[in-house]
């Protein structure tokens, strides 16, 4: 009888696996969702670095109002939370928590997982504000995790990176490598650079609210070791083959016959027009017959014969998902010197870094190296500006470079100044009527708030979070 009943061993799933299989799933889920419709579209459209074209039937809104008119879907709020916590975070934590069960011990693998977890938690907190971290991913002890203040979460991000930096060992061949490390193929030296860069970004996100973090920023800048070449960029490649494509491209392909869905935001287009920016044709496609690049105000109805769309060459099938770029590291360093964060203000050094960042950005976007250098050199020197103008110039170029990076552009904008003084000065979509600007995702009801008695009240999408002054 006992034997007859002992058939409850699941034939569909595995009791034990190699941890690299969790790392590949966490990595894929992370980049998929960053590039996918739940995060990219609301962040790019709500954050106004990209426009949706309002009720235009050829735009992403398909003839109804969507994120560019501040119609956000509860699905997006819920899916990103669920995906980042369960598909990404929980699998990374399983690798970290069960690290001791590996033989030989995979310290590098644990460190790789910690860096990706740090980046995931950084995204979660910049998306939602206060979030569970200290009691998260530990169901047995904390079935209802408390929410940590954003300050503590960002400190935890820094701490996770620091733990990873201790564990990384370039001489140890045990690591997630080859196709299972989709970022660097097991190159630990690049992981170390990425870890430091992520740490810098987290500290810079905090420093306006928490000036004491400037010291740590200074140390990082002084010690160096940040991402220092395009070859160091932290990214995951997509492919041209079906089923492996960047979700941004796949949406255009399946729903719009391969035509681009997204329009240029005037905050980007106008700024670039004013500078005759060589990246313009890399960023946008003009409609046939149009001589100028014309953006469409977020939420307003676009006209395909007039308004510029994002260039076909951007949303290509194998567009990688970038988590950290070389020019981004340069923009941050320029900002650190311009503001004197943990280092003395050094506008000349800032200008040098600023122009290097613009040059790298132009090259990144496909401008020839010589043209890139000429364009950067032609930018007014930061040393000739007021400190405030110089900092704003860095922020604007930084934001424009991140136009297609959804949450990253949005966080950069929120970070760029206190309310009303951000760069650029965005306005709420005029179709919406009196409201405040988009500031965050609301907490999801079903996937967290309703099930968690320790959850705070839901803040509306137009309410600022801790770091956002």
């Amino acid at each position: 009888c006992k034997k007859f009943l002992d058939v409850n061993e699941d034939p569909n799933n595995a009791k034990a696996i190699d941890a690299k299989l969790l790392f590949s799933f966490a990595t894929t889920s992370y980049v998929n969702n960053r590039a996918g419709g739940d995060l990219y579209i609301p962040m790019a459209l709500g954050g106004q670095s990209v426009a949706g074209g309002g009720n235009s039937t050829l735009g992403i809104s398909w003839g109804t109002r969507s994120e560019d008119a501040y119609v956000f879907s509860a699905f997006s709020y819920g899916n990103i939370w669920t995906q980042f916590y369960t598909s990404v975070g929980a699998n990374l934590r399983d690798i970290i928590d069960k690290a001791n069960t590996y033989t030989p011990k995979n310290n590098n693998g644990v460190a790789q997982a910690k860096v990706l977890l740090a980046q995931t938690v950084y995204d979660l907190t910049t998306i939602y504000g206060d979030i569970p971290y200290k009691e998260a991913f530990n169901f047995n002890l904390y079935p209802s995790p408390h929410f940590d203040p954003q300050k503590d979460v960002l400190d935890s991000v820094v701490a996770l990176v620091d733990q990873a930096l201790v564990l990384f060992d370039e001489d140890n061949e045990t690591k997630f490598t080859g196709s299972y490390d989709m970022f660097y193929g097991g190159d630990i030296s690049k992981w170390i650079k990425a870890a430091k860069s992520i740490k810098l970004r987290a500290l810079l996100t905090m420093v306006d609210k928490e000036p004491a973090r400037a010291a740590a920023i200074g140390t990082l800048i002084t010690d160096g070791g940040l991402i220092s070449a395009a070859a160091d960029n932290m990214k995951v490649s997509f492919a041209t083959t079906a089923g492996k494509r960047n979700p941004k491209y796949a949406i255009n392909l399946q729903y719009n016959g391969g035509r681009e869905f997204f329009y240029g935001s005037p905050y980007v287009v106008d700024f670039m027009n004013a500078n005759a920016d060589p990246r313009l044709p890399r960023f946008f496609d003009r409609p046939t017959g149009q001589t100028a690049y014309v953006g469409i105000e977020p939420g307003a109805n676009a006209n395909d014969a007039v308004h510029a769309k994002l260039a076909k060459t951007i949303h290509v099938a194998d567009q990688p998902e970038f988590v950290f770029t070389y020019q981004e590291a340069l923009f941050y360093q320029a900002e650190v010197y311009a503001r004197g964060l943990g280092v003395s203000v050094n506008m000349a050094r800032a200008d040098e870094l600023y122009k290097a960042a613009i040059t790298q950005s132009c090259i990144f976007w496909g401008v020839a190296a010589a043209d890139a250098a000429n364009f950067a050199a032609a930018r007014p020197s930061l040393t000739s500006m007021t400190a405030a103008d110089a900092i704003a110039a860095i922020h604007y170029q930084h934001w424009v470079d991140k136009m297609d990076r959804g949450i990253d552009a949005f966080t950069e904008w929120r970070r760029s100044g206190p309310e009303g003084s951000e760069t650029p000065a965005l306005r709420p979509p005029s179709v919406v009527g009196g409201t405040n600007l988009f500031r965050r995702f609301q907490y999801p009801g079903s996937s967290e708030i309703l099930a968690n008695p320790n959850a705070p009240e839901i803040s509306l999408f137009n309410v600022k979070m801790w770091f956002d002054l």
């Binding site: 009888c1 007859f4 009943l5 002992d6 058939v7 409850n8 699941d10 034939p11 569909n12 009791k15 696996i17 299989l21 969790l22 590949s24 799933f25 894929t28 889920s29 998929n32 969702n33 996918g36 419709g37 579209i41 039937t57 003839g63 109002r65 119609v71 879907s73 509860a74 699905f75 939370w81 916590y85 598909s87 975070g89 009691e135 530990n138 169901f139 079935p143 209802s144 995790p145 080859g178 196709s179 989709m182 083959t241 079906a242 089923g243 492996k244 979700p247 949406i251 392909l253 399946q254 729903y255 391969g258 009527g433 009196g434 079903s446 996937s447 309703l450 099930a451 968690n452 008695p453």
Partner: protein
Amino acid sequence: QRRAVVGKVVDENNVPIPSVSIQIKGSSAGVAASEAGVFEIHAANRDVLVFSSVGFVSKEVTVGTKSTINVTLVRETSTIEEVVVTAMGITRKTKSLGYSVQQIAGDELNKAREANVVNSLAGKLAGVRVTAQSGTLGGSSKIVIRGVSSLGGSSQPIFVIDGLPIDNGSPNIATQSGAAPTGIASVDYGNRAGDINPDDIESVSVLKGASATALYGARAKNGAIVITTKKGKSGRSSVTVNSSTRFDNVLKLPKFQNEYAQGTYGVYEVAQLNGWGPKISDVQDRQFTNFLGEQETLKAYPDNIKDFFQTGNTFMNSVSFEGGNEGADFRLGYSNTTQDGTVPNQSYKRNSLTLNGGRVFSPQFNARANVSYMGISSKGRPVQSSNNPNILGNVLYNIPRTVDMQKLRDNYINPETGQQIPVSPSRTGNNPFWIINNNGYSGDLERIYGNAVLNYKPVDWITVTNNIGLDVYNEFRKGVTRNGTIGMLTGGFTEANLYSRTLNNDLTITALKPIAKDLTLKALVGGNIYEQYFRRSQGDAQELTVDQLYSFANAAVVVTQNFQQRKRILGVFGEIEFNYKDFLFLNATGRNDWSSTLPVNNRSYFYPSVSSSFVFTEVMKKPSWLSYGKVRATWASVGSDESPYLTDFYYNPQSAGFAQYGYGVTFPFNGALAYSIPITSPAYNLKPQKQNSYEFGAELRFLQNRINLDVTYYKSKTSDQIVALAVPNSTGFRTLRTNAGTVQNSGWEIQLGIIPVKTSDFTWRIDGNFSKNKQIMTELPESIKTYTLASGWSSLQIRAEKGKEFGIYGTGWLRDPDGNIVIDPDNGYRVTTGDVRLGNLYPSWMLGVNNTFTYKGFNLGFLVDIRKGGTLYSSTVSSLRTSGMAIETAGHRDQPIIDKGVNETADGKYVPNTVAVQSTEDYWANNFVSSNTEANIFDASYVKLREVRISYMFPQKNFSGVFSFIKGIELGVEGRNLWIIHDNIPHIDPEANFFTNSTVGEGVEFNSVPTTRSIGFNVRLKL
């Protein structure tokens, strides 16, 4: 000298008694009357005919010189010997039962036949609620007995055919998340009990409470539908032909406005699929470009949507051959059902063949075997819900009023390019004829079930029975989307193979013996072996190279999935019954189950039941108006298990990563495969779920049975529910498998039968079934405020909250303390607020009233079905309103709208709203979007004329000479779902449900295909 004698046997209400046995006294010769009570026997003048039937007083008639003998049998009033089939197929006298059982004769179900037999139970049984899911041909129907008692999974009763528990699943298959546009999960592939051929059914017993079903164990925690199939009867062989032809049309279509064309803010725009364009009558002097690029003057086509639908038809034809003698019986039945839908290119075909035969080998030993085969194929099953380009509801209802349906029909494909001519390039811009002519979901199912029963009587008071049965089906599902379909321009398809096998063996030993004067003991012991195995393999293909070639080799990417599960139960059970003088009964049952799905330490569980019945009219001096009276009481405790593999931690292989709009990447990705920890924290110490219930009832008959009343009160408490509790996702898990929560159901069931008029020729019968169920979530773990039973769309959820019934929750209107809707002073729109309870899911009461009039051979019956309460969310209504298609959106187009409501002043007071919404379009588009749940919530009550049937039975005497081989002809006209007499929801039939019967969810309508009304005729011929 024997000669033919014919006649008809009726009861005291002049209702024919089927299958009465007619024996020639003192001989072995005999026949059985037909279903219609008609008989023919060869007898001599001196012979005495003995008419007998269970529950009736036998009658003897001497033949004499009569050639026609019509007989009225009187019901045994003092000792009602009605019998019903109870658990394990045990036939018991109704009066001995301590619980309520309702039995329906197969004939009753075959008046106005339904292709899905579950639907024909609607309105006929107290406490039984039947909901058809959609207008899908071969679609599923959900049946809920005495309220939903479980938080998780299906609340469906077990279906048992001749002792074999058959599969009644409606497995949903979802395309792999991230691999293709999702939404295939919302194609209704029917519930497997719908495969049963109604013509094979002799009777259906509905066992409602746990006491009634205790012998079945865990499998019957939601009640049992016990079906007995027809067998050949002793007597002359006969052939029965039953043929129905029916025509179906749409029962309820939306009411559209016919004044405005497509566009925005009154300006014509061919790309917009809506009704927000110019007023048609205002622009008769102008020409506009239509979807074909032609210039035309705008004109409304009021019937364009109606013209899309066609008259569907249903043909149900069956023939059966039956016969037998004392030693053997035989029945062979064949039935064919063919349906064509109201939506073109939808069809459903079912062929079924059944063979039932028994043989008595000796007085000690007999054997019986029963096997049924069903072959079902369906085409064009519609897609409901969202995110799938093939959803018809959405596409169809948004076709602008100025579009001629005939033009769409004639121009869905460009003859030169072979490309679609869409109605618009927008997301819902597919030409509906492109969809129905190219894309679609089809299915093929083959199923065999049957059983073999051996009976052995070693001594006359002991019977040993073994019943072994098997139910196997294989289903193939396919859904294709042609290249060029908006929303999936590169095309794709999904194929799935489903295989299910249920094996059941029951061995029982029954002893029946008087143990003292006036006291009889019946004892039963038995053992049960049960196994259920399910297997599915599926491929989702995307990006097809050659147009319309649905081969995996033709696809750029194919994601495959496979899945299998096995579950076993061993059970031992026993029953003991004391019968004192046939008026006092005491019955006790016990069953112990061992389930493979529970942890080893918890896998054994025992459940007992006791019940008693007392026919008090047997022992009292009863008044003349009271014919019969019985009271009954019962208590039972039942346990149940869960699906397999929930009690351990497993890493799950992943075939794709998620990204919104279904385009996450598939694995291997960048050369890597992937696994994930489970999304559900496993339940290492799962316990069986437990249900305690009791029931009291009384059966009373008055005025020589002219009035029958049966009243039941019940209460059940289902605790230690096995649930997947939603946990905060920040824990790393989405759900936790655990035992939690208690659901209580209590209610009343009243069956009342009245015969107001009865003369020798004319009878009027009224049968009413009333039921009222109150469900309360009495316990929920402290850690959760509410339990999410099912998620709808946008913000809608179906949830259980402590102290309340299951309800619909979602975005609601913000209201002031007086209940007025708060209006935003900035823009004049209604202000919404998150997460409000918007209504009870289930009805508060239901009533079915069946009237039957009989006049000589004529019979007229009609059934009215009433549901009061419950809530329905309709996305169709939302879509009709936000797109300016519904009739109510045509008003006020020229003026700003000042909505009724209040504005909040700076000091927190509320004053009547003065802020206008500047355009009607903005008013409807903002206030009634599908994510504003409350805007699209309606009362689901209805009054429906469910079925009407008029029939005429030709008197036997009409068939003489060469036609004397005809034993009976009955002609009928029948209709189903004829009329929604009353409802509270615009545009759609309130009887709609997006969820299949494998979930608790209901009360949500999501772009479903309209339900149909059927009218037709029926011929029954017996030879």
